[in-house]
């Protein structure tokens, strides 16, 4: 009886299937085989460019990474070799720091409302709908938005405005991940906490949130990894800087924007720095997203 619940396999479910296949009208069989081969070719055709990209970035990036100063030095003047992008690594971390410190509290607390207080309400539906649509809008819009509400007001490009742009980008992902994590916490835990006299605030902050913490952190890491690679929102906010930025109120170089500017320069040295920066950025982003995926796989209640 247990077998009935299994998803029926379209593959060779025993030998019967193959026998019927042989008796079949050859045209149907050939069509099927052609389509099978075609779907395999398609799958291979999608994996191929990925491996190609990874290979190219590794090959060309490693060559440029041999300068030992690449993580500590400023980029060279146009046309000259030697130099690094230490300022862009620091800048990226600054911008991400601002983005996380805005998006995480807002996103997590909003999701707490959705999962703990407002389940099934019209408001929760509206917020979720809006967050889903927000996650689909062009990333460049987040940059224009931050330009218009922060850069305009303070009169200067800044790491802070870049952080605001990336925070808008991350917000829907954090809300969704947190809400899903909270919904996975069994209701018995809430009832037990309330049963021994905990208030709602205590239940949520001391029981529900710690239980969901791994999944929430995973969501935050994935959102950060996504934001770390975005250049478009930073073009009009953090902009760029050829020197070390010391404050979040100054224009700040970031890795994606640096790659963009260096890739369109006609100099060999700039281009090889762009490849090296790509390798570092890609390694960073992929490590984050692979780690996050490994974390979620283990989480079960």
């Amino acid at each position: 009886m247990a077998k009935r619940n299994r998803k029926p396999s379209l593959a060779s479910e025993g030998d019967n299937f193959d026998i019927s296949n042989q008796k079949m009208n050859p045209q149907r069989r050939i069509t099927g085989n052609v389509l099978t081969i075609l779907s395999m070719v398609f799958a291979a055709a999608i994996v191929a460019p990925l491996l190609w990209v990874l290979f190219s970035v590794f090959e060309r990036g490693v060559d440029a990474l041999v300068f030992p100063d690449i993580f500590t030095k400023l980029p060279p003047p146009p046309g000259l070799a030697e130099g690094g992008f230490g300022h862009a690594i620091v800048g990226t971390l600054m911008v991400l720091g601002v983005a996380i410190s805005i998006a995480v509290p807002v996103g997590v607390l909003a999701a707490i409302y959705l999962a703990e207080f407002g389940r099934g309400t019209r408001l929760a539906y509206f917020v979720k709908f809006s967050a889903n649509v927000l996650s689909g809008i062009p990333a460049i819009m987040c940059g224009l938005f931050a330009y218009s509400i922060v850069v305009r007001r303070f009169g200067s490009f800044s790491a802070f405005s870049g952080g605001v742009a990336l925070a808008v980008l991350m917000l829907p992902y954090i809300i969704r991940a947190t809400e899903e994590a909270l919904l996975l916490v069994p209701n018995e835990m809430r009832l037990a906490a309330r049963g021994i006299g905990a208030t709602q605030f205590q239940t949520i902050t001391q029981i529900v949130l710690p239980a969901a913490l791994t999944s929430i952190v995973t969501g935050v890491v994935l959102a950060t990894a996504r934001a770390a690679g975005e250049a478009a929102p930073l073009l009009f906010t953090a902009f760029n800087n050829t020197y070390w930025s010391t404050s979040v109120w100054e224009p700040t170089a970031t890795m994606p924007v640096l790659i963009y500017f260096f890739s369109i320069m006609p100099y060999q040295a700039s281009q090889s720095l762009a490849w090296a920066a790509s390798l570092v950025l890609l390694a960073m982003v992929m490590t984050f997203s692979i780690l996050a995926r490994l974390l979620t796989r283990k989480k079960k209640f």
């Binding site: 029926p8 398609f42 799958a43 999608i46 649509v133 062009p138 478009a232 890739s263 790509s278």
Partner: protein, 320 residues
């Protein structure tokens, strides 16, 4: 005092004690999260309103003619986004043309037991990795690695199909076709992942029923599973379309940013996002307003696509 009274008295006191500190905390917490939830929901509308506000001077000055004007000239302050709208729609269309068959074919390959789990799991994982490649890295790869490989292909298209307006002119490295090709790599994982989950939740009775009636695997897939999962597939395509329309860096790096209208796919073109990325930095006041107008057009296009796909997903979930 009776013991009963004593206990209720005790209870009442306990509750009162709670009222003082914790009740305030509870209500305050609820109110605070409510406020942030409303705020998070409102961000979308704030973005739309803010863009519209910034675009207002340009809307007043150029009106709807902006959509049909083909020149972008800061010197004469003539602004129009017809070439950019064409480029945005055309690159997205090319991307979908490549990504839809590849994506659906791969999703079928991954879900319908064509290969053992140890083959499909790593493939699915690798495909998910594409999502985490920063678009600026894909653009860099496109410029320096892909372009030299496909340039002969552009010349070939020009030789064979040069009589069509889409392939006329001189083949260049930066054009709408190459942007469409790179965009297709970026959007294929979206189509695959949503189509996959659609197939996975389809009731197994559909498969058994169809097989029992004597249909082959592929007849089952093409005539039963795909029609049954159509709304999921369509919404995945819509989401992918939205992503393709809004992608900026690949367009900014590879589209060529031509400022005149050109039907050809193998000559430099322009997209709305590419225009904004390349011109915003040096833009003066009117030009910023015009760029914001362009952004508003893009926003409206992507909102329509996004909301449609969102509604299709909701409808689909209700059936389940």
């Amino acid at each position: 005092m009776k013991p009963e009274d004593q206990s209720t008295e005790f209870q009442r006191k306990g509750l009162e004690k709670q009222t003082d500190t914790t009740r305030v905390l509870d209500v305050g917490f609820l109110g605070f999260t409510l406020l942030l939830a409303i705020g998070a929901g409102a961000v979308l509308f704030w973005i739309i309103a803010q863009t519209a506000l910034e675009a207002l001077p340009a809307i007043q000055q150029f009106g709807f003619g902006f959509l049909f004007e083909a020149t972008w000239n800061p010197v004469t302050t003539t602004y129009g986004v017809l070439p950019q709208i064409y480029g945005t729609l055309m690159t997205s269309f090319i991307a979908l043309l490549i990504a839809i068959p590849l994506g659906i074919g791969t999703a079928i390959f991954l879900t319908e037991d064509f290969a053992p789990k140890w083959v499909t799991t790593p493939i699915a994982f690798l495909i998910e990795l594409i999502v985490s490649i920063p678009s600026v890295v894909l653009g860099l790869w496109g410029i320096f690695v892909l372009v030299p490989v496909v340039r002969p292909f552009f010349r070939f298209l020009n030789d064979i199909l040069g009589w069509m307006p889409f392939f006329e002119g001189t083949a260049r490295s930066n054009n709408l076709l190459i942007v469409g090709m790179v965009l297709s790599i970026m959007i294929v994982p979206i189509i695959i992942s949503i189509t996959r989950s659609t197939f996975e939740v389809l009731p197994s009775d559909l498969r058994t029923g169809s097989l029992a009636l004597g249909a082959t695997r592929w007849e089952t897939i093409l005539r039963v599973l795909i029609p049954a999962g159509l709304s999921g597939i369509i919404s995945s395509i819509m989401l992918a379309l939205g992503r393709a329309m809004g992608e900026t860096m690949v367009a900014a790096m590879m589209v060529g940013n031509a400022n005149r209208f050109n039907l050809s796919l193998i000559e430099p073109g322009s997209t709305i996002t590419g225009l904004i990325a390349s011109q915003f930095g040096e833009a003066g006041r009117t030009q910023v307003a015009a760029l914001m107008y362009g952004a508003l057009v893009l926003m409206i296009l992507s909102l329509v696509v996004n909301i449609l796909s969102e509604l299709i997903i909701r409808r689909f979930q209700n059936i389940e």
